[in-house]
């Protein structure tokens, strides 16, 4: 890896450009940094002069040359060699001025002056040299750390991106911001060139063509990111990022903006650029590997789900089908000998099992709607009471049940998809009916709490153990093993949760376990509009 120098050199050169538009650098600072150190330096000398004058006036000190030493050293330390040189010159001048000043009552020390100045120079100059060296090292260290920070920030930003287009776009934009040049990334799709640019301006055809040639070069794309020796289209430079997994990417960098910038700054900028290109290649490669792994993981999950679905289907379709076929053939073949009660029994079986099949098909269809987030809820202002009533009329397994509905008459209207919420509720009601004793009570109650509506479906059945309260919403989860327990696909609650969430709501299970029953609570947001509407229509 190339050692990353020069971020600050780069920024300085950006800052001193007339356009001065680099991120975080106010334009009005453009001319300041050049002259300010000299002003500060002069100011320090002036201050020293004032102090020296004071000391001489009070007679505490007669040889004031020494007073200027700190000024020179400070200038060297803070602002570098040339401001320090200015400070020396000014100190000479100030010294002379002070010692010859007519308004001060001084003693002449003609013979001492040249010697003093000589000592001053001999003492101060090596110090200056040492200080300037030290300062240069500090500046260099700062530059390095700024460059490292900038590189680190760059790779951090890239690391968070999980989508290829966004990653490439971010690379283009980051590079473009740092360089203040246009950046376009090219990669080869299936037979086409895919450009992703840092801005929305037109992509020059010559640049695209050059990138294509580089990417399609018969000897393979040049595997490092030195600019190719092939001719570059007017002022553009094309680099190649070689990512082992993702294939090569051409990075075209537009002509630099005209402006000052010495050879060293350019070289340093080049170093940083190369380091960043390395990082970009790593990021593209990593994303490619990540998505390959992720694809494999999704495939595996899908395969597991498919297996579970097939198992579930073969059990849940075959059982009712066997019952229907058996009953129907019994009726057909033994019609004459069957008593009235037996006939009624067989017919009831056919009917119930067919209804079960129908429910099952409905569940599988709901499930297929869930795949890939294909649910598009049609939200409209609606009455919860209507949905509860419709769900109760559709829910089966409620024969002989004591169903208690407690809805306050002033429940606000909600913004819901009628059918999604109805289905969610049907699934909860049937779930309650399945897992509680026949003829036991099922309660549906709603209330307003914390600016939301809570809708509870409660039964008095077995309840749910604490550690399974969340798991009941998993696909294919069943409260009891399929063979011994109530019939069901194990999909009802998973569908319920997905449909409630599509309505902007939440559903969770509450139970103390151990035969105390279970409550499933749907929480739905209250839209602002509902209250206003009711007020508006109050008097009609």
């Amino acid at each position: 890896m190339i050692s990353p120098y020069s971020a600050s050199a780069l920024q300085t050169s950006l800052a001193t450009r007339p356009r001065g538009r680099a991120a975080g650098l106010p334009a009005d600072r453009a001319a300041g940094p050049v002259l300010l150190p000299y002003l500060y330096s002069a100011g320090t000398v002036a201050a020293s002069g004032t102090v020296a004058a004071g000391l001489m006036a009070t007679g505490l000190l007669t040889h004031v040359t020494i007073v200027f030493v700190p000024a020179v050293l400070v200038s060297a330390l803070l602002w570098g060699l040339w401001p320090a040189a200015l400070a020396i010159g000014l100190s000479f001048a100030a010294n002379g001025l002070l010692e010859f000043a007519p308004m001060l009552d001084l003693q002449w020390r003609h013979l001492e002056r040249p010697a003093e100045l000589m000592v001053f120079t001999v003492v101060v100059l090596p110090f200056c040299y040492v200080v300037v060296r030290a300062r240069a090292q500090v500046v260099e260290a700062r530059r390095r750390s700024a460059a490292a920070r900038s590189l680190h920030g760059f790779s951090q930003r890239l690391a968070g991106i999980r989508e290829e287009y966004h990653l490439r776009r971010a690379i283009a934009e980051e590079l473009s911001t740092l360089l203040e040049q246009r950046v376009i990334l090219f990669s080869l799709g299936v037979g086409t060139l895919l450009p992703i640019a840092s801005d929305d301006r037109e992509i020059p055809a010559a640049v695209a063509e050059a990138a294509r040639q580089r990417l399609e070069a018969p000897e393979g794309p040049v595997p490092h990111h030195a600019p190719h020796h092939a001719p570059q289209p007017d002022g553009w430079t094309i680099f190649i990022l070689d990512a082992a997994h993702a294939g090569p990417t051409a990075v075209a960098i537009g002509p630099p903006a005209p402006g000052p910038g010495n050879a060293r700054a350019r070289a340093q900028r080049g170093e940083l650029l190369r380091a960043m290109l390395d990082q970009a290649a790593v990021a593209i490669d990593r994303l490619q590997q990540w998505s390959e792994v992720e694809d494999a993981r999704v495939d595996e999950r899908a395969a597991r789900l498919r297996d579970a679905l097939i198992n579930s289907i073969s059990h849940d379709l075959r059982t009712p089908l066997a019952a229907v076929l058996g009953s129907a053939t019994a009726l057909q073949s033994a019609d004459g000998v069957l008593g009235r009660a037996a006939r009624a029994d067989l017919l009831a079986t056919i009917r119930e099992e067919t209804e079960r099949l129908n429910d099952y098909v409905g569940n599988v269809m709901d499930l297929s709607r869930l795949r890939g987030g294909a649910i598009q809820p049609r939200l409209e202002l609606t009455e919860l009471a209507d949905i509860v009533d419709a769900a109760l009329r559709r829910a089966r397994l409620l024969a002989g049940r004591d169903v208690v509905v407690k809805l306050p008459p002033d429940l606000p209207m909600l913004r819901l998809d009628l059918f999604l919420l109805q289905q969610a509720l049907v699934n909860l009601i049937e779930n309650a009916a399945k897992y509680s004793p026949p003829k036991s009570r099922i309660t549906i109650a709603a209330r307003v709490k914390d600016a939301r509506v809570e809708l509870d479906v409660s039964d008095t059945g077995l309840g749910i153990p604490k550690d399974e309260l969340e798991r009941v919403f998993d696909r294919f989860y069943r409260g009891v093993p399929a063979e011994s327990g109530p019939a069901g696909s194990g999909l009802g609650l998973a569908i319920c949760r997905a449909f409630v969430e599509a309505n902007g709501g939440k559903v969770h299970a509450i139970s103390e376990g151990g035969g105390t029953g279970a409550t499933f609570r749907i929480t739905l947001p209250i839209p602002d509009q509902a209250i206003a509407l009711e007020a508006m229509l109050r008097d009609e």
Partner: protein
Amino acid sequence: MSEPGLSEHLARILIVDDEPQIRRFLRTALDAHLYAVAETGTGEGGLDLAATWTPDLVVLDLGLPDIDGIEMLRRLREWSAVPVLVLSVRGGEHDKVAALDLGADDFVTKPFGMAEFLARVRAALRRHAQVRPGDAVFAVGGLKLDMARRRLTVDGAEVRLSPKQYRLLNVLAQHAGKVLTHHHLLKEIWGPAHLNDVHYLRIFVRKLRNRIEKDPARPRFLLTELGVGYRLAAPDQFTG
């Protein structure tokens, strides 16, 4: 209503459905209940039979192979007022509403039980048999609406309604037993400018239920057909 020679039949019913197994069990069940049945699998065939065989009721599946069931209904309604009972599937609310707005009488969602289907058939036939130019009093359960005197009682006690609430109940009572779509009701009560303000209707239905239903959360008179409209229970649909 029946021709001589067919007098043993209650009524003539035309089945338009492209699935033979559905036609088969409908025919079997309707035969057994003494209706005369004709059947066809296409919309064009349905229009022909509606013109030549003059049924008393058409059972129409909305998913037909040649012309859309909705389209067939539109063409049928250009010249015939025969009652139409639509067969639809779960989730086909959009089609149901379109069919009802085009003048279909009622719908049954597949799969359906025979008892429910026969009840809908009887209700549709009855509504058309008694073309009543003003049954001034509508009564179901304990609810009694005297339209001549604009007076409503529930279990003998008079109930006061606002003018709009009364209008809503009146429209529903005139079509008792039939689903009226949101559009239909909005147009009747608020006028054509408010066709899409279904929430107005929902608020008024709630207010009306609060006045007439014992438990507004489990209404017995004013029933919701989710996503389609409302129905005021006819006496034979009333479940107490």
